[in-house]
Amino acid sequence: MESNQNKPRYGMVIDLDRCNGCGNCTLACAVENNIPPAQPEENERTGITWMRVYKVDNDKPYPENRAVYLPLTCHQCDHHTPCESVCPQKAVEYDTETGIVAQIPVRCLGCRYCMTACPYHARYFNWWDPEWLKGMETTLNPDVSTRMRGVVEKCNFCHGRLQAARAKAAVEGRRAIADSEYIPACAESCPTKAIYFGNLADANSEVSQLAKDKYSFRLLEQLGTEPKVYFRSEQPWVHQKMDTKLSAAAKENAHG
């Protein structure tokens, strides 16, 4: 997509060396986005976690064993968005104004084709009817619509917060929102500030600078999906494990 000063391209850089796996981001996301409470039979493959923290290690025994925690969310793929092109009824929409890939739950048929298309496992299906226990409905966020049984949902960079920021700016007579006015729940709640969020189209933004850093990489770069979530680590084994350009370059130098 064309990078345009007027059209932001929201993205993230997640510093794996800072993430301690506390899971605050997952919790904050669940609260912000009205994720339904888990049913008793739900497990790690049927539960809904728009933001989810994975533990990645270097497969070596103690004392060489190293691990990082990797928060995984929707990467808002910028190029030939795999989930958008496959949806049979256009329930997925790449928003050209922000670069966010939106999901339309009321149009979703629940065919789950988008879930097979996504290589980042960012999409989750409502295998159960969402149910809130009596009294819990008071904890719901009024800015985010709840979903129904049998539809797919995923992270949308807390789009409700973007709408709220735009509304606030409009009240104050502004068109554009400042960077600090819009931040997703996960980035906001991270205690180690591992998640950086901002406008990748703005060359001066922090995320933009971090994304260009030599230690930053994206997952499955070679697929060509142009994800807008970058990861960063200064540990060489991480680059090796993730098969990044840096590790490839290092291998070439070694053989050189």
């Binding site: 496959v86 048929l109 629940g110 409502n126 295998w127 049984r149 499955l220």
Partner: protein, 410 residues
């Protein structure tokens, strides 16, 4: 007791025996109906599908029965458009089988989606870039065509054709059958292809992704050709099975030979294309996406033996048998080859659906396993039972095999 509904010149088992035959299938159908009820009422948590295995047994079943049901359109094409008159002997049976396969697939699909009542949304907001839209449109139209082709077979039932209006309508409908055969061929070409395209476009699944020929991935064409090859084989097998179970000669040897020969020629062509496609995938497509082809086969139970079984044992070998006249004339070899060919298609659809989803995509993913729940299996068996019931009723009361009467008197 029901002789007045059974055609002249053919014998059928007593209605008591027939009832006994239908009983186990009816029970299977009822069990399946209960499983469907559970899934519709309680939700898809009744299955063992999950966020990693978003497609499971049902989607695999859909793809397989639609590939095997391709015999309906292909036999129609060969008979009405290429004028291969011998196939008149099996066209009615082929239409019924096709109808069973497609209606069963659509039925299962309605349970598989999370919101079946929203099925019409695909028509209202079609996404022309999505293969699934193409599949939905084509299969709906084609099911309609199959139903229209089934109607004349029903109208020629002994009792029904006594009503002049029914007979006259059947006559007029049959005069225009070539239109339906042509439309059916056109639709089948596209939906068999786009079922393959479903997986070929998945850039996120390098195991399944294939380069494009025009606007379609190579799997589009491979699926059409494999369906055209498997179709006649399945017709051959179902005819032989019906023959065996009813202890009758239903078609002449020439019909079996023709089906086998056509299938063999298409199958060998398919094996050639599939081999070329696989080699390109191994050497170019997969590595360019950052995955070596070998890396997909290092998981226990899912080694390269699957690939060789699919292409060689269940592709090349049956093709060679079917093309060899001496072996083809030998009934046991013919049935073996036809079975192997169908198994090859079954494996191919399995590889594209289940194996694709089991394989890891992210560097820290695991290889996953999935076992269908009893509700999924019961639904699958319900489709089988439905097929047996519909086919048995059709075989008893309708003329599925026009040659049967002649062969019975010999």
């Amino acid at each position: 007791m029901d002789k007045q509904y059974i055609a002249r010149g053919v014998s059928r088992m007593s209605i008591k025996k027939f009832g006994l035959w239908m009983l186990p299938w009816s029970i299977m159908l009822i069990l399946g109906a209960y499983a469907v009820y559970l899934c519709l009422i309680k939700g898809l948590n009744q299955t063992n599908m999950d966020n990693r295995f978003a497609f499971g047994l049902w989607i695999y079943l859909d793809l397989t029965v639609i590939a095997l049901g391709a015999g309906a359109f292909f036999t129609g094409f060969l008979l009405y458009i290429l004028k291969k008159k011998e196939l008149k002997a099996v066209i009615n049976s082929a239409v019924v089988i096709g109808f069973i396969c497609y209606s069963g697939a659509v039925g299962v699909l309605m349970v598989d989606v999370g919101q079946p009542l929203r099925a019409w949304f695909t028509f209202w907001h079609p996404n022309v870039h999505s293969m699934l839209t193409e599949v939905t449109f084509c299969i709906t139209c084609y099911l309609l065509v199959l139903a229209i082709e089934y109607v004349p077979v029903i109208l020629k039932n002994r009792k029904i054709k006594q009503f002049s209006s029914m007979l006259v309508f059947e006559h007029e409908l049959h005069k225009l059958i070539i239109v339906f055969a042509a439309v059916g061929t056109f639709l089948s070409f596209f939906h068999q292809g786009s079922l393959g395209g479903l997986y070929g476009v998945l850039i996120g699944r390098p195991f399944a992704f294939r380069p494009a020929l025009g606007i379609w991935p190579t799997t589009f064409f491979l699926f059409i050709i494999s369906a055209a090859a498997a179709g006649p084989c399945f017709i051959l097998l179902t005819t032989a099975l019906a023959s065996k179970l009813s202890h009758k000669h239903l078609v002449t040897k020439e019909v079996y030979q023709m089906l086998g020969k056509i299938s063999g020629s298409i199958l060998i062509f398919y094996v050639l294309l599939k081999t070329i496609d696989t080699l390109i995938w191994i050497n170019s497509t997969s590595p360019s996406l950052g995955f070596s082809a070998a890396s997909f086969y290092k998981f226990s139970g899912f080694g390269t033996w699957i690939m060789f079984t699919e292409i060689v044992l269940c592709g090349l070998i049956p093709a060679l048998i079917l093309l060899n006249k001496k072996m083809r004339m030998h009934f046991a070899w013919l049935i073996t080859a036809a079975s192997l060919a169908c198994v090859g298609i079954v494996i191919n659809r399995f590889v594209m659906t289940i194996q694709t989803l089991a394989l890891p995509t992210l560097p820290f993913d695991q290889f996953l396993s999935y076992v269908p729940s009893w509700q999924e299996v019961a639904t699958f068996l319900a489709v089988l039972a439905y097929g047996m019931l519909v086919y048995s009723l059709s075989f008893r009361y309708l003329t599925l095999f026009p040659q049967e009467r002649e062969l019975e008197s010999l």
